[in-house]
Amino acid sequence: MAVGLITLIVLLIGAAGFVAGRSRALTTAGGDIRKLHSLPGYSGQAVLVFAVAPALILMAFWLVFQPLYVETRVAGMIDAADIAEGSSQNLVMSDVRRIATGLDAAIGQGVLSADDLARIHAAPDDIRSRLGEVGIAVGSDIRPGVLRAAEEYRRVTGMLRGAMSVAVIGLSLAGAAFAYTRLSPEFRARNVSETAVRMLLLLASCVAILTTAGIVLSLLFESAHFFRLYPWQDFLFNATWNPQFRGGSDLGILPLLWGTLYVSFVALLFAVPIGLMAAIYMAEYATRRVRSVVKPLIEILAGIPTIVYGLFALITVGPLLRDYFAEPMGLGNSSSSVMTAGLVMGIMLIPFVSSLSDDIINAVPQSLRDGSYGLGATKSETIRQVIVPAALPGVIGAILLAASRAIGETMIVVMGAGASAKLSVNPFEAMTTITVKIVSQLTGDTEFASPETLVAFALGLSLFVVTLGLNILALWIVRRYREQYE
């Protein structure tokens, strides 16, 4: 039985349990809900939880461990002779899996019958063309050992799948029955429901954490792979970025890191003062009417897709900067430049800085403003000397969040700053960033195991480390200074 179908059945059992549990709770109380510890709905929920939760957890574990079990069992059947020259156990195992799915599909579509399958060992060559008919292409001729392994794989998987259906549905029924028989007026169904809600919320937060862990681990493994092929000293300290598809590339991160930090710095140089001043205007000076118009308008900036900003950089800002600044000043003649990307990215970041800072400035207690005005301070003195210092930790948090955004930005850089990796201080020269190079390394046509491709993971890891560092710094600053007022 398919996983979806099993889930559906379990949910149906749960729904039935809910209805049954609710009516049983009422019956045990003789129809008077005042005698119940918990409202009948909670009893229904308790039955539902017992029917669904253990069953689904069992299924999740089964689905994780079944392939592991089957693989080890089948892998034992493949002799060394079956592994061709230049191939590996892993590749043969993936063949086994594909043949097994192919056999399933072939039987499912009626190309093969069960009898054919029994006779198949007589003509293993035949099987390749048969599988081809159902859309499963196998690279080489199928060796008898591999075919046997595939059949074993199919058999064990099918058997275990059947066992899983029985076990999961059985557990679901057992859970429902267990909870149903426990129902009585004293049964604390409300507390069961409370626990279930808590677990659900815990699970939701775990998903986020586990995903992060998963991303980090996959980056780490692939990067480790890369560093086996390419020395880490060269990666970190080589000042040239020059990937060659034939091999022998220079893969130094320095020019990319420099480009990333330079573009982000220029972006923040625009975004922070403008965003902060806009926030101060909105929080302290603007009337309610002005604020209700201006704030959403600024926030629209945050909703524009970055590719649109990229177009703006490419078509408008780049040529403008080139014609009126770079060429007259003799600083370059490229419309792609750090300045172009930085400026446009700065515009994109304004709402991040202003919106967050605005909220933070609004959260500064009115009593501090009153205290300052009461001492004869003007509005701007109050803002400079009391409000901004009080809001500073939050504002710095907002700025660092914007910085993380800037460092991770790709589209605007591709279209605004170009794709040539250079170490230069001239802001009107084309440069590029880590994110852009990750994209271009992964979209090339080199084979996946080459250092030129794997370097993308090392770059990703470096980027992750930089932004993680910034986020930790932001959190630390916010925590450290948060309780200054109250």
Binding site: T287, P365, S367, L368, R369, D370, G371, S372, Y373, G374, L375, G376, A377, T378, E381, Q385, V386, P389, A390, E483, Q484, Y485, E486
Partner: protein
């Protein structure tokens, strides 16, 4: 003749009183919060405003240093004079006025700065000190006047927010005193404090009257009786009775005042 004597007498009161208010009306939008209040506040005296919640005593207090200007919907009419100068005159800068009429608030509100910087805030803004040494002097003098010097002299550079509630309030008083105001307005300065801190602040108020004219809004009639020489009783936006504190508490002329101080209304 008769008329002349009347003007003469008014001049005498003017000279004695620090602040004189005539026909003050305050509106919050359509709400008429203060109705036709006349008060003369004397120099070097503690004047208490008492009355039930929402009677307008705090609102009136905030008229005296134009703090109500910071509220958009608030409108003040009538005539309030400080040393015989109209404080609502167009030529008067409310910011300068607030330096002369200091204010202490209900909840202690030290700035998130060091104790020293809290006190030095006003003098720095108004340029009262020519040198660092002079500023140090002002800070020490103000903290002594705020009766908190001994407790904080060893940690002037610790954050003001780290002090206890009572200490914070005395710090705020010291901060207000540091700009050398002529009048000190206190809006329920003890309502967030425990009894011990309250008695410390009350003692301080009695000392402050040597140098300043103090106006205090309070919910506690005992506090008004303890610290003030003059008491004004507000009810529903009207000044019901104003006189010597002893007279108000022992021999009120208005039946509403009597009901309030004996606890029948409010």
């Amino acid at each position: 003749m008769n008329e002349m004597r009347l003007t003469e007498r008014e001049d005498v009161t003017m000279a004695e009183s620090k602040i004189s208010a005539r026909g003050v009306q305050v509106y919050y939008g359509d709400n008429h919060a203060i109705k036709d209040v006349d008060v003369d506040i004397q120099d070097k005296t503690v004047t208490a405003f008492i009355g039930p919640s929402g009677c307008g005593k705090s609102t009136f207090l905030r008229c005296l240093n134009r703090m109500n200007d910071t509220i958009d919907i608030c409108r003040v009419e009538g005539d309030i004079r400080l040393d015989n100068e109209d404080i609502y005159d167009k030529r008067v800068d409310p910011v300068q006025l607030r330096a002369k009429v200091g204010m202490v608030f209900q909840k202690p509100n030290p700035f998130p700065k060091s104790i020293y910087d809290n006190v030095a805030y006003g003098p720095r803004i108004h340029g009262l000190a020519r040198s660092k040494a002079e500023l140090d002097e002002i800070v020490e003098k103000s903290l002594r006047r705020g009766a908190i010097w001994d407790e904080v002299k060893d940690r002037l550079h610790a954050p003001g927010t780290g002090l206890s509630g009572g200490q914070q309030q005395r710090l705020c008083i010291a901060r207000a005193v540091a700009t050398e105001p002529e009048v000190l307005l206190m809006d329920e300065p003890c309502s967030a404090l425990d009894p011990i801190a309250t008695s410390q602040v009350e003692e301080l108020i009695s000392e402050l009257k040597e140098n300043f004219s103090v106006v205090i809004v309070t919910h506690s009639m005992q506090q008004a009786a303890r610290v003030s020489q003059k008491t004004a009783f507000f009810h529903l936006g009207v000044l019901v009775e104003y006189g010597e504190t002893a007279q108000i508490f022992t021999n009120p002329r208005d039946p509403r005042t009597e009901s309030y101080i004996t606890g029948r209304i409010g």
